[in-house]
Amino acid sequence: MDYYSNISFTVMTVIAFIAIAMFLYGMFTNIKKWSLGSTGYGLEPSNGSIIVFIKTLITQIRKEGHGQPFLTTFVLDILLQRRILRRSPLRWFMHITIFVGWMALFVFSLMMFAVEIIEMIGISLPHALHPEVLRDTMSLPNDVFSYILLVGIIIAIVRRLFISDVRENTIAYDSVFLGGLTIITITGFISDGIRNGGFWGFGIVDSTAPPAALFHVVISLLFCLAYIPYSKYMHMIAAPLALLANKGGE
């Protein structure tokens, strides 16, 4: 009944590591690319060592003057996304549901993955943290955040379909992003539905549960992690950094 162990755990682990490796390599290439810039306005470009970016970012974040404190930016502008709220409450609602849903599910999956690995290694965990028990405990929050994510995605799709401005300005780059999100969410619902025979299982036989779950996990890992540095998902990392570097922005 537990989430992962029905699908081959080895396969899962291998895929997870491949995804992490792809993510790290992609991040490395991006940071290398950014490091081709200079360390300050009007200075010569640097040699491209990844230290350059990290140093420049830290220096800029720490520089005094114009702008708000680090913590204000972190809480109000990154976590609560105040800048979007100021502009459009609807877009803020869409963004915050996707953000919160995504982050929560990501953290839940990490938790599950961690307890399963710990169990596998043979370390005994307190009862509440046994994979099966934890899975049951998390089932409700899992559902809640999945629906939150789904609401955000539906708003995003509807905006793109029905608001002409948004539709006309959508390019493949945006569609791949939204498409990926949609597939992850829907496969999550379906694999869960098959497993517990609920609505989202669409009556698919139980025996398909493990491969369905595997499919969901693989594509989540690929989209949620591996694909980030190579795509529009990169803004999930770069935008918060930009906000920090510019002390909350103008």
Binding site: G37, R87, N169, N246
Partner: protein, 432 residues
């Protein structure tokens, strides 16, 4: 086959700016605010978002993963030139940065990419390429002799030998819209604030060079910054006062960066000083606006770039007989007049197109007077007013305003008038 080299380099961009290019979420908010995108009927190429996307694609084609594995993919000369031209269709007003949900510092980004494009041979745009030569040779963009820096001063104005304040008049007030220099000086005299002038030692602040991506050419802005800061410090004054938003921005933001330290004096805008005097009840008014409606256009270089929003409003709201109203799009969300970023010199039609929209904002609130605190806004809003009202010809400074048309004026001229001071410049006085 020879190995292809990347079509672009990263000259003038900082590592953090290169990251900011990847931070754009493509939310499209900037499209709702950009004045040039709006004035040109919203062509995709002028959208700030699109400019970021294109530079990102050039970066990726040159340095991305694929470029690493299979070699860089070229960007054609045409594509590059088109991008460069689009990037100069921008007043560097910065509203795109204000509304950007990713907090991208767009103005710095545009200026840095412009400098990169200038080095590459694509920028600047149109007549803007004259700036470095003129400013280097004449120390002002109007090809005037430095010896004539103080020619604008009419009889009766007192310039102190030694004082705590230096008035940095700037090239435009000194040579081109002298009424601003004259009114500033008269108001200061009347308020008994002694001030010095740098005269020949005042060099162009070089704002136009920084804004148009030409700061590196012969190092003019840096040398000018060093010269001006040293000359100002040598006076021993503790305060340097500006009545021009462009110079004020340079002194506040660019000088410290260009010389690598904070100057030893305070930088203030005349609006700050006047607001202070008003609060202390030290201004004696001698006229009235007779219940005319007045509204205020925030110059982007004073407001959004430097955060001075309140003091000009205090001044205007306190003008006797003034009915002060606010327009749509003010303060940090202000709509640019269209003159900045080299647009007035490089693409004058675009500048007037944008300012006409601003005039309509003022018409919407039935303003009789549209006031600002920047010579460039004053000039360009005046041109916009003329275009909207179908007025042609004659020098802006010398033309009378027919009664039924909106008056576009600088705050300092209104203040001088209402303090009972003459707003006549030297040539007008001599004619009489």
């Amino acid at each position: 086959m020879a190995k292809r080299t990347p079509s672009i380099n990263t000259n003038n961009l900082t590592a953090v700016q290169l990251m900011e290019i990847d931070a754009c979420t493509r939310c499209g908010e900037c499209l709702n605010w950009c004045p040039t995108y709006d004035a040109q009927d919203q062509p995709a190429g002028l959208a700030p978002r699109d400019k970021i996307k294109r530079w990102k694609s050039y970066m990726d084609r040159s340095y991305g993963l694929r470029a690493k594995l299979f070699g860089p993919r070229p960007v054609s000369d045409n594509e590059m030139q088109e991008f460069s031209d689009d990037l100069y269709y921008c007043t560097t007003c910065g509203v795109c940065g204000t509304v950007c949900e990713a907090g991208i510092n767009t103005v710095e980004l545009w200026e840095s990419i412009r400098a990169n494009l200038v080095k590459r041979g694509n920028g600047p745009y149109g007549k803007q390429n004259m700036f470095p030569k003129l400013i280097k040779e004449y120390h002002n963009p109007y090809m005037k002799d430095q010896k004539d820096r103080l020619l604008w001063i009419p009889n009766g104005i007192e310039i102190a030998e030694k004082a705590d304040v230096v008035y940095f008049a700037g090239c435009t007030a000194g040579f081109n819209q002298q009424v601003l220099g004259v009114c500033t000086a008269r108001v200061m005299n009347k308020l008994e604030v002694p001030f010095m002038l740098l005269g020949e030692e005042e060099w162009c602040c070089s704002s136009a060079l920084v804004r148009t991506g030409q700061p590196h050419i012969d190092d003019v802005p840096r040398l000018a910054a060093i010269h001006n800061v040293e000359a100002l410090e040598a006076t021993g004054a503790s305060t340097v006062m500006f009545a021009c938003a462009g110079c004020f921005r340079v002194a506040t933001i660019d000088w410290p960066r260009l010389i690598g330290r904070k100057p030893k004096f305070n930088v203030v805008h005349i609006a700050d000083l006047l607001a202070d005097y008003i609060k202390q009840g030290k201004i004696k008014w001698e006229g009235s606006l007779n219940n005319q409606t007045i509204t205020y256009h925030d110059p982007c270089h004073l407001g959004r770039h430097c955060g001075v929003y309140e003091t000009p409003r205090i001044v205007l709201d306190n003008l006797p007989g003034a009915k002060f109203v606010e327009m749509d799009r003010i303060r940090e969300e202000q709509r640019c007049c269209g003159a900045g970023g080299g647009v007035k010199a490089g693409i004058p039609d675009l500048a007037v197109g944008i300012s006409s929209t601003r005039i309509k904002d003022a018409q919407d609130v039935n303003a009789d007077i549209l006031a600002s605190t920047c010579p460039f806004c004053r000039r360009n809003l005046g041109d916009g007013r003329d275009s909207v009202y179908g007025i042609t010809g004659t020098d802006f400074d010398l033309r009378d305003n027919p009664e039924n048309e909106m008056q576009v004026e600088d705050m300092i001229v209104l203040v001088a008038e209402l303090m009972g001071l003459s707003t006549k410049i030297k040539s007008q006085m001599e004619e009489e």
